[in-house]
Symmetry: C2
Subunit: 341 residues, 2 copies
């Protein structure tokens, strides 16, 4: 985590404490599943310090609050909310994808079974909402609390629409690039937009938060394309997943969508044939990677990621914030598109 | 539905319209899964009029609102919310239990798969929250809207805690009666309490809604025990499920929990042995039913159901409402404990 911008480490402890105080105040064993997922305990309930993720969304939320004039403390409850929403989506996502590992540890469903994992994920979403009421202690008005609720649940619904599209793509022969961008706009950009909007709205008029949404949208698109690049060309040491993992899982991620669109004739038929196999074996993985090389897929993905990054950075200039905050947003944006984990 | 108190039919159309306007305003195919679950369309998207359920919780919510002095219209958005929460829990419950039928039709997961059904259920929960914002058009203050949100999400979290307990009971040898009552208090009474509380709180001070919670709690317990009775001695024509279905599914429902607690020596061993089987065959079902007869399980369950019914009816007298509304609550309470569907 040394490579991350310093602001992540500056806030990490406070976000972790806020999340912990929300979840740990509950007694039932159900909440142990959440604590395990967050990396705080092992399956026996013993304290551990595992990877809790980057807290990207919570960090963006706090920064949006600070950049619009308040102490980061004021936004901690909602930074926790958005992080809980992200994490509930991961618990469900692991069930939906049948993924057995997350952040180098067994996923919740592999330990407690799918029925309990479904339930724990949904309960985490409800905790995310209840966390918003902690704004009362930060003297945030009822009107502002309601604005937060609306933005939070609209972002969450948008994310679930994206998840619907992503799952539905699995059964489809072909997906075009516009459909793919629409899907990640919903699935990934939603919460990043939401994080920035709720952080800003507790301080400034809701009519003025549009640039935060726009910035978050571009950042989210760049972030997801980078994720998709790492899903093919990332290394297991860094990402926790073997390289070309998305190919083995036959995910319709950006590189594969592009290669389907870009290829023609026999090459296209070969690609389709491989993807139509029940299981993609290692020779097939190598084959696809060589097609990717021939089609220039890596470069195209990098270029597209850069495109949204440029739009995001340009949008930072439209935010009603000071230079110091702008610099933080720029650093985060840059990190997100060059990260290898 | 003729046997139901008239008030159910008086409100049914309005509740249905409110739910429909919430779900149908959304375009993505994702929402078709919800419309299908609600009984409005078939799997092809054609309009149908299937069973949407009793709308018990929505009806109680509207009655609580009317009984405390407002028009039912004012409470329609939140009546829809509580009904959406109930229905999202059914979509997830069917996945968790592996149930293939609900209200005489194939369950959502059997048609669209478990990943999509998990997602559609969670999305329905989020829609339930967004529906609360429709209170704005009913001139409900921001403070009151927040009180609704809090009650709604606290009820929902309590329900999920109950669901956690219910699933965890499956892996346990024995469950005692107190644990069972605690479980249904959380799993079932939660939303019935919640329905009454949110209906009342939009009109009266939140410090005064405690009797609604208490009434809902007793009613919920009686309701669930009646449900458990029907799970053993109900008929397929009425409930849509074969009689003794809960035995075949090895559910730790009230009759079986009681029989485990009440039986001793050889009878207890026999019961345990049957329940330890992987699958309970028809001769075993008959065997258990004869043990139930010997132990007087049916009578005990009826008596316990009646006990909570009596407490519920007594609590109606503590509600700050007029006689007409009291009568409605009494009629519903009575119906819930004598219903055979």
């Amino acid at each position: 985590l040394e490579e991350m911008p310093a602001i992540f480490n500056a806030y990490r402890k406070f976000i972790d404490e806020e999340l912990s105080s929300i979840i740990s105040s509950r007694e039932l064993y159900l909440y142990n599943m959440m604590k395990y997922h967050m990396g705080w305990i092992d399956t026996e309930g013993n304290l551990t310090q595992s990877n809790s993720g980057k807290f990207l969304r919570a960090t963006l939320c706090l920064l949006a609050a600070v950049s619009t004039g308040s102490d980061y403390k004021k936004a901690l409850p909602i930074a926790a909310s958005i992080e809980l929403i992200h994490n509930f989506s991961l618990i469900h996502d692991d069930i939906q994808d049948g993924d057995r590992k997350r952040r180098h540890r067994p996923t919740v469903w592999t330990i407690w079974g799918k029925p309990q994992a479904i339930n724990a994920g949904t309960a985490m979403k409800v905790l995310a909402n209840l966390s918003v009421f902690r704004l009362e202690q930060q003297a945030v008005s009822p009107e502002k609390q309601l604005e937060v609720f609306k933005l939070l649940d609209e972002s969450c619904l948008k994310m679930l629409e994206g998840q619907y599209l992503d799952i539905s793509f699995e059964d489809r022969d072909e997906v075009d690039l516009d459909e793919y961008i629409d899907m990640i706009d919903k699935k990934t950009a939603s919460l990043i937009e939401g994080a920035l909007q709720i952080g800003a709205v507790i301080n400034i008029d809701k009519e003025k938060i549009a640039p935060f949404k726009k910035f978050g949208n571009y950042l989210g698109l760049a972030f997801q394309i980078r994720d998709d690049i790492l899903g093919i060309w990332g290394s297991v040491d860094k990402t926790g997943k073997p390289s070309a993992n998305d190919l083995r899982k036959k995910k319709k991620s950006f590189p594969i969508v592009y290669s389907f669109c870009e290829s023609k004739g026999e090459l296209k038929n070969k690609l389709k044939k491989i993807y139509a196999q029940k299981k993609i074996d290692e020779p097939s993985v190598k084959q696809i990677l060589s097609y990717f090389d021939a089609l220039g897929v890596y470069d195209y993905c990098e270029q597209k990621c850069r495109h949204y990054y440029d739009l995001a950075v340009r949008e930072i200039k439209n935010l009603p914030i000071d230079k110091k905050s702008s610099k933080h947003f720029e650093d985060i944006s840059k990190f997100l598109i060059i990260r290898d984990f």
